[in-house]
Amino acid sequence: MISRNLHNDLEGYAEIKEEIAVLKKYGTDFTLQKGEVARIINLHHPKKLSLRISQIIHETESTKTFRLVSSTRPLPPFQAGQYINLFVEVDGVRTSRPYSISSPPSQTAYYDITVRRVAEGFVSTYLLDEVKVGDIFQSTSPSGQFYHNPLFHGENLVFLAGGSGITPFMSMIREITDRGLNRQVQLIYGNRINDDIIFNKEMEERSACCDNVTVHSVLSEPADGYNGLSGFITAELIKERVGNLDDKMFYVCGPAAMYTFVLGELKKLGIPKRKIRMEVFGPPPDIKSQPGWPEDVSINDRFDVKMKGKTTIKAKAGEPLMNSLERAGIVVTASCRSGECSLCRTKLVSGKVFQPRGVKLRKSDRAFGYIHPCMAYPLENLEIII
């Protein structure tokens, strides 16, 4: 900076001063824009949605679809395959679960989520047995990375689904057929028995009327007399059904065990990484069998978790830290509950946690001790900043 009395010696200074004087009269009044940033962001991605159950649709013996309408503002847009994280309060514990939206994004009058009963499932049991039309829930805005990205996915898609993993694909197939999109879809859908197949009738109808969608149903434990495809989704079956594999993009969504199997099969077929899209799937069912789990820690060990400037709680080793926090009434922002979205990222000041493979930690998270409590299991007493 030069002292102000020299400014006048700068060439062009006086003219710019005049320009400023004019602008001061006729410039922008920024105060009129108060609240505008929030308003625009809320059109696309509000932090929270308030949703009312307008309809409950019986899908199979163990599965229901909940139709959710907005009880306040219009629902934001989403991409077929994305999920919402639904907040619930069960037995006095506030928790949440991510559910893929099964309705198509071509309309946002409602979102459908389709929920299958999970054995001993804390939340699915509650949703299927207790929730009724008119109940109000909060959720996050739709998010997630499992959707068709036209910049590099191409038009030839192979969907590999297992059980309730069909839900994001249902949204995609509905969008493709409803809007007549130029995408070729082959769905290979694995289930245990015929009665487990969700959206069976609708998929048959859609594939019958639209040439670009083909459905291959595979049963692992078919009843006597069944003459369709049976077994698992193997390399041979994929090759035989799909034909030319070169120009295809493979999408995989299903239970944890299916990923290990199907990814192995795709590898056998020589499918490169860039041609495989995988949905995330939550904490593994048996954490101590994950590679890297220390032998000297039992899943029933309990540790102290101290929150800087707040209370100390007990947390079980065999359970994601987030669940223990929620049980103690501490709400952590969450969305994917699968270690991916980073919304729950928390600074670990001291102590050690186990984070299974696939948790998306950045270099700096590892270097500076940030963890994703939704997929972090305490192995020692901890101190965290929340």
Partner: protein, 502 residues
């Protein structure tokens, strides 16, 4: 007695460096950050097996150990220099104008001049004269503004007084004939957001000169390594931080800051607030209008919201050289007319200017082995994006991004077969993450009228300081240094107040 000597709103570059600088000097500081990590723009995110750098392309002002730049000194004073690992880039940039020009400039005066002369032999003497001016201007600038020569005058430093406020384009026109040559020399206008016809030579010259003299640098671990290191050092110095906790209001009484109310409703008393939330957000959203002097509103009204970006983050399943990428910093432009390029950036028409940074060229550890990543960016004002109906947003976003990818593939055809991840951020994305109106990354547009000669940087509200890109130049170096400057002025004011401490 206040709860804290200083409350810092926002853990962006400017917030972090002011907080750290103050805490190191024994002040009690609370930093509020609405995200769960520090950094603001200086951050990264993960898709698949890639960790994408969000904002940092070429760190300026660092210099070498033998010839340190101002940033090296600042980071040294903050006690973080030896905790970070930097990689020097040899090149300023490669510029490709598909079908007509392809040139690479080294970050070295003689080599850059040689490359320019080879490409534009008929302008050899013009090129020499221009670089003489550039260096002589910057030398005079240092004497006047950095060394604060008390005898500074128009006679003693004629180039400074002649060129500081001149438009960059005027200077180009004075020295050069060939429009392509002007395009090549002027590429860094895009790091400032306004085309050469609108940015002062004073601003432009310093950037070009500083990149040549202090070299462009890459940071190992990306910009999040810097943010996290600053935060950790701040915590070690005894600073307090609250994450997931934005500020709702800065309380003001009789023209003085009295405290901050958090989004959770906590009231924190303090006499001093450093806001790293941006000038517009601070005055429009955080302070009640009755506390904003009319004069300040009129001054703000003369400014316009600066550019945002469309950023495409690409992960490849090959190494850069396998796809023909041999420079970190690649500019691609399909028009020699920067004014036209800039006009386009206010529409959703095909962008005619791109920056493609492939960090793995200079830092092979940046992406997983056998893979690499690129950040493909164009300047884009938020306005046309604001009128996109939400239900058409994704389609329009992809269509726009497709045009950028197609232009890039025109220069690097192999990339198309090796894309493993792509994420697209638009001005609306930046708006969501930064909270800035217009998704502005550099703050206000910086025309001549917005430079330090005309703008009062001190807030008329006592105890309020604004750190980051908004009050000055945009970018990493200015933001980092703004925090330190503010910390110094806070300490000075506290000393003169005779130890009025909590």
């Amino acid at each position: 007695m206040s709860d804290y000597d200083v409350v810092v709103i926002g853990a962006g570059n400017g917030g972090l460096t002011s907080a750290l600088s103050l805490a190191k000097n024994g002040l009690s500081v609370l930093m509020l950050e609405r995200h769960n990590i520090p950094g603001g723009c200086a951050t990264s995110f993960i898709r698949g097996r890639f960790e994408f750098e969000v904002a940092l392309h070429q760190l300026s002002g660092l210099g070498t150990e033998e010839f340190p730049g101002p940033l090296r000194n600042t980071l040294g004073e903050l006690g973080v220099m030896d905790k970070l690992e930097f990689v020097r880039m040899d090149n300023l940039y490669r510029l490709t104008m598909p079908g007509s020009l392809d040139i690479c400039l080294k970050a070295d005066r003689a080599e850059a001049i040689a490359a320019l002369k080879e490409q534009f032999p008929e302008e050899s003497s013009n090129i020499d004269r221009f670089f003489d001016l550039l260096y002589e201007y910057c030398t005079q600038w240092i004497h006047v503004t950095m060394l604060r020569d008390p005898k500074a005058s128009k006679d003693k430093y004629p180039l400074y007084f002649k060129y500081a406020l001149k438009s960059t384009q005027e200077v180009f026109d004075e020295f050069f004939q060939n429009p392509q040559l002007k395009t090549v020399i002027g590429v860094y206008w895009s790091y400032q957001g306004l085309p050469p016809s609108k940015v002062t030579f004073g601003d432009f010259a310093i950037i070009l000169w500083a990149y040549i003299e202090f070299k462009p640098w890459h940071l190992k671990g990306g910009s999040q390594a810097l943010s996290s290191t600053l935060l950790n050092t701040y915590l070690e110095a005894g600073g307090d931080v609250r994450f997931n906790c934005g500020a709702k209001k800065i309380m003001v009484s009789n023209g003085r800051v009295t405290g901050v109310i958090t989004e959770e409703g906590d009231e924190i008393s303090t006499d001093r607030v450093v806001s790293n939330a941006g000038t517009a957000t601070t005055y429009v959203e955080l302070i009640e209008p009755e506390h904003i002097p009319n004069q300040l509103l009129r001054e703000l009204g003369t400014m316009t919201l600066g550019t945002s970006f469309v950023s495409i983050f690409m992960g490849f399943d090959q190494e850069p050289h396998q796809m023909g990428i041999d420079q970190t910093t690649n500019f691609i432009t399909t028009s020699p007319d920067a004014d036209h390029v800039w006009d386009r950036s206010k529409t959703l028409s095909t962008p005619e200017w791109l920056l493609f940074s492939c960090y793995d060229v200079d830092d092979p550890d940046f992406s997983p082995k056998g893979a690499s990543q690129g950040s493909l960016v164009t300047i884009s004002y938020a306005k046309p994006w604001l009128s996109v109906p939400p239900h058409q947003y994704h389609e329009i976003k992809y269509a726009y991004a497709q045009k950028m990818v197609d232009t890039l593939a025109g220069v690097f055809p192999a990339i198309k077969d090796h894309i493993e991840e792509i994420e697209v951020g638009t001005p609306l994305t930046h708006m969501r993450y930064l909270g800035h109106p217009g998704g502005s990354a550099y703050g206000f547009d910086r025309y001549a009228k917005d430079t330090e000669f005309f703008i009062e940087s001190r807030s008329p509200i006592k105890g309020l300081y604004i750190a980051g890109a908004w009050p000055g130049m945009g970018g990493f170096q200015p933001s980092i240094q703004s925090g330190v400057t503010i910390a110094k002025s806070i300490q000075k004011s506290m000393e003169t107040q005779g130890g009025e401490r909590s």
